[in-house]
Amino acid sequence: MTATAPPRRAPEAGPGSGKSAAGRRLRPRVIERIRQGGLPYLLLLPAVLAELLIHIVPMFFGILISFKNLTLFYIHHWNTAPWAGFDNYKAAVKIHQPIGEALLHSFWVTLSYTLLSVAFSWLLGCAAAILLQDKFRGRGLIRTLFLVPYALPAYAALITWTFMFQQDTGLVNHVLHDQLHVTSSKSFWLIGDNSFWAMVIVSVWKSWPFAFLALMAGLQNIPRELYEAAAMDGAGVWQQIRKITMPSLRPVNQVIVLVLFLWTFNDFNTPFVMFGQNPPHQADLISIHIYQSSFINWNFGSGSAMSVLLLLFLLVVTAIYLLVTSRGRSENDV
């Protein structure tokens, strides 16, 4: 999210050429523009065409069909689908009607799922990165093993977790019931209330290595002298972590939290692989909810309206988040 702009090319104006300050600032830029001509645009052309095809046109098209009453009947001739105006949107936000109620429920499920998953993923990633900061025997191996969930294809890992959560034959019930005797009977994990928690656990398992990876990189940028100076002043390890490591990681943390939030909020794989097309009520994430209303109930207009609402929500959250964190950062720097 914070790709840095490359360093600006140093102005090439010769010293003492007698030009006005404005002229000196302007001329090299203009000359460079002319010299480079249309080349950057030519280089960009293939990517721009692809972007138009895969992102821009579909997005406008999606907004268009969200105003249409596009059902299975009209799918092969979508332009003959009757105009619906704001009906799809009204239905989506009417929280006392079935469609709106289901969407709101799904929104709350997704929000709690996301917040829990991001919080735990960040916590585990942070702990692992800090504890692996110093060299010790086995550090490289542990680091590699921690990245395995990240490297595994999502569906292969998810299918394995589904197997582990099976009621009769799964590892989870075997450990909880047969081995530890924590539960009196083998509980169901893939239906009912437990399904939400099963999904959160799997999501944390999949996401935390990303936080770990990014934080490890962030830790490398902290100068070691800071720790040495703090140690001279008599600060212990815990104090150093609190006073040096955590504040230095702030910018990285902000990126990680935002990226994880967006990924998890849009997560489709987890419920789809674990529960199939009809996840339990407690695990009805928003992207699978939209998928259902589009590809199972064949109401594309309604599905598109929900997608647009989802996008608006994510844009607002991102904007607020960036505003709040950048303010926090500038206060810190001053």
Partner: protein, 289 residues
């Protein structure tokens, strides 16, 4: 434990820290590795063994699941589909991204900011947002020109660009930025055109970054489920959707599911772990700076 450190740590580590480290890292290792162990051990069990209550140690080891997976479902066919789709999507997006990232990294031009912001912001959009319209656009193209994109490999490749292209442009631009400009300036002085400088200097210098981006693009495509479940039919089905077929009406062949999971994971996990050093550097150059 401090006896084994490679270099003296500036932190004097108290017992509490060392114990926290041991306990937390052990718990995390268990959390990470248990599913991997379940995958591996169950793939070596017989069907009866896997249908009973879970056992940590298989009763008898068998490699039969690894033989049967190819017969129960057309796994080889799905494998080929996945390879074709993922390799093509990766090649397309990385090639397009090399040009675009070079322009973004080396030139200041009007519209540069609009382009980068657009590309970046599409990364946060939910996949379903593009899936619905693309599906309908493909239906339309099919109706008017007779070119079937829904259910074809080409259609799936195009939809995979929706996530792999922005990601590749973003990471490669970050990587190109880290290559000193003096290098391509020098090439231009020696008589290379801008494209010559790109292909003779920048691209060779960026090989680790290009490898990293390609592996990531491939990995993401290999694990993709949403587009694959809508955009494929019986003949173009990828592994992501195909593995579900080990579940029949009466039975789930869990040992075969696990064996197949191992088989489909091996190429990407091996690639990732072998190239780990590059990948971590490449990702952090693009993502965290």
């Amino acid at each position: 434990m401090s006896r084994f450190t490679d270099q003296p740590s500036p932190m004097a580590q108290p017992k509490s820290f060392l114990w926290t480290r041991r306990v937390v890292l052990t718990l995390l290792l268990v959390f990470v590795l248990v599913p991997v162990y379940v995958m591996l051990s169950s793939s070596l069990k017989t069907l009866q063994d896997v249908q009973g209550s879970f056992k940590w140690i298989p009763h008898s080891l068998t490699f039969k699941p690894y033989v049967d997976i190819w017969k129960t479902i057309p796994l080889a066919h799905y494998f080929v589909n996945s390879v074709i789709v993922c390799v093509s999507a990766t090649v397309f997006s990385v090639v397009l991204a090399i040009f675009a990232a070079y322009a973004v990294s080396r030139y200041r031009f009007m519209g540069r900011k609009v382009f980068t912001v657009t590309v970046l912001s599409t990364q946060m959009f939910p996949g379903i947002l593009f899936l619905l319209p693309l599906y309908l656009i493909f239906v339309n193209i099919g109706n008017s020109t007779g070119v079937t994109l829904n259910g074809s490999r080409l259609g799936l490749i195009i939809t995979y660009l929706t996530f792999s292209l922005p990601f590749s442009i973003w990471m490669l631009a970050g990587y190109f930025d880290s290559i000193p400009r003096d290098l391509d300036e020098a090439a231009k002085v020696d008589g290379c055109g801008p494209l010559g400088a790109l292909f003779r200097v920048v691209v060779p210098a960026a090989v680790p970054g290009i490898v990293a981006v390609s592996v990531y693009a491939f990995m993401t495509a290999w694990g993709e489920v949403l587009f694959a479940s809508v955009m494929t039919n019986e003949s173009t089905r990828t592994l992501a959707v195909g593995l579900r077929e080990y579940a029949t009406q009466n039975d789930v062949y869990w040992n075969q599911v696990m064996a197949a999971s191992i088989v489909v994971s091996l190429p990407v996990v091996a690639g990732f772990l072998l190239l780990q050093r590059y990948l971590v550097a490449g990702l952090t150059a693009g993502a965290v700076k």
